[in-house]
């Protein structure tokens, strides 16, 4: 393992399309549920415990055995009822693969895998371990939405980073849980869902005016 490689993979500046996605935050801001750092705190904790855990587990599983990519991909389909979120995840998976292929020898896992599967495959290609893939996944679920919050709500970036620092131990915990389960059969892997993210994503996809792709 290489810490510098992990930082590279988890860096928000990795050109993998993430900047155009709010992780479901934009519709919740529009619904008035997130207005300030406290609201963002609740949003991020819920997202981390649901989609974050699922992403981390699937990234860890794909990293542990890239040969499972196809069945993991089907497993994520079953965990992502919203067509808009499936599209967003696959678009980000494709973008991540594009970036990853330029960096490491990533094996063929399809053109548009779900984002966590792509992340796991990249991590494996980069010589990282499943728990590192899981940390990158959990970290990505919080930082992506947090940076969208700074842009959408004009929140104080220091206050937002203070929140991210408070969430860091939770990211580590989630990643450890996820990695410990990475060898489970796909049906038994975490499946925590977030109903408002699903509902919000479906409404958001129909908006005429929006800043983020999801």
């Amino acid at each position: 393992m290489s810490l510098a490689t992990l930082l590279l993979l988890a860096d928000g500046r990795l050109p993998s399309g993430g900047h155009a996605h709010s992780g479901g935050l934009e519709p919740q801001i529009a619904a008035g549920r997130v207005r300030d750092v406290d609201g963002l705190d609740g949003f991020l904790r819920g997202r981390l415990a649901t989609g974050g855990l699922v992403s981390a587990a699937f990234a860890a599983a794909a990293c542990a055995d890239t040969g499972r990519a196809a069945e993991l991909d089907v497993g994520l389909d079953a965990r992502t009822p919203s067509p808009a979120l499936r599209r967003a995840s696959r678009a980000q998976g494709r973008a991540l693969l594009r970036a990853g292929r330029a960096m490491w020898p990533v094996p063929a896992i399809g053109r548009e895998p779900h984002q966590p599967v792509a992340l796991g495959a990249l991590a494996a290609a980069a010589g990282l371990t499943p728990v590192e893939a899981a940390v990158a996944a959990a970290h990505g679920t919080t930082t992506g939405s947090a940076s969208a919050a700074v842009r959408l709500l004009g929140l104080d970036p220091y206050a937002v980073h203070a929140l991210l620092a408070r969430l860091a131990p939770e990211c580590d915990r989630i990643a450890a849980v996820a990695a410990a389960r990475s060898g489970d059969p796909v049906d038994e892997l975490p499946a925590a869902g977030a109903p408002l993210l699903d509902i919000g994503a479906e409404h958001h996809a129909t908006w005429e005016v929006r800043l983020f792709a999801s």
């Binding site: 993998s16 155009a20 678009a91 494709r94 969208a148 842009r151 005016v209 800043l211 792709a213």
Partner: protein, 232 residues
């Protein structure tokens, strides 16, 4: 990347370009990919009007598609559709998450996906125009996304714009100074703009245009014809 489209300046760090098949732009089955031209410039300078004019001028003679990067709507794509300059399947809109310059410069993945999807769906193309979201004078396209870029400014901001410079004005492969019909109204002196543009841009070409009058953007269309011809 085609060497003829990419000059290496004397002060550039020595580098080589990988074969188009292995660089991040996925290779296309069956032949070279389309020429990609980025169209950038400040909000409202006439980028969409230029794209529409180019579709009118070139749509019949070359295989063409458009990617738009609106800041928060599909306005530009809708405009092109409404005006019937290009069929819907030849237009893609990309969302940019509040950062139009990021989507064309730092993280070009969504735009590359859109270009590839168009090429895959429509078959080989000669030209893809990528319109950036209206931004500021510093917004330029990544060379990983486009081969050539056009920067569109207009006269209504006053004749100081070329003097102010910025990467768009200074380095774009073609600078378009649009809305010359408005120059008398805003007291902009075109000869000052021309002089300043030359000073900033040295050999790089600049054209004056009024899209209100020239619905085919003739000088720009001719410039593109030359580029497309040079590729084959």
């Amino acid at each position: 990347m085609h060497p003829e489209l990419h000059e290496h300046g004397p002060d550039e760090v020595p580098h080589t370009h990988p074969d188009p098949g292995v660089d991040p732009h996925t290779p296309l089955a069956g032949g070279p990919r389309a020429l990609r031209i980025g169209i950038g410039g400040p909000v409202g300078s006439g980028k969409t009007a230029l794209v529409a004019a180019l579709c009118r001028a070139l749509g019949e003679e070359i295989r063409l598609a458009v990617v738009t990067n609106d800041i928060y709507t599909t306005e530009d794509a809708d405009f092109l559709l409404r005006n019937g300059v290009l069929p819907a399947e030849r237009i893609r809109a990309v969302e940019t998450g509040c950062c139009p310059h990021t989507a064309i410069r730092d993280d070009i993945s969504a735009n590359l996906d859109a270009v590839e999807d168009l090429e895959e769906k429509l078959g080989p193309l000669d030209l893809v125009l990528v319109e950036s979201g209206g931004d500021n004078l510093t917004a330029t396209f990544s060379k990983g996304l486009i081969d050539q870029q056009i920067f569109v400014v207009d006269v209504s901001g006053g004749d100081k714009v070329p003097r102010k410079g910025g990467p768009g004005v200074t380095t774009a492969d073609l600078l378009v100074i649009n809305k010359t019909d408005l120059a008398p109204m805003v007291g902009a002196d075109l000869s000052v703009m021309d002089r300043d543009a030359k000073a900033r841009r040295h050999e790089l070409p600049t054209v004056f245009l009024s899209l209100a009058e020239d619905k085919q953007a003739t000088p720009v269309a001719d410039w593109i014809r030359g580029l497309v011809a040079a590729r084959v």
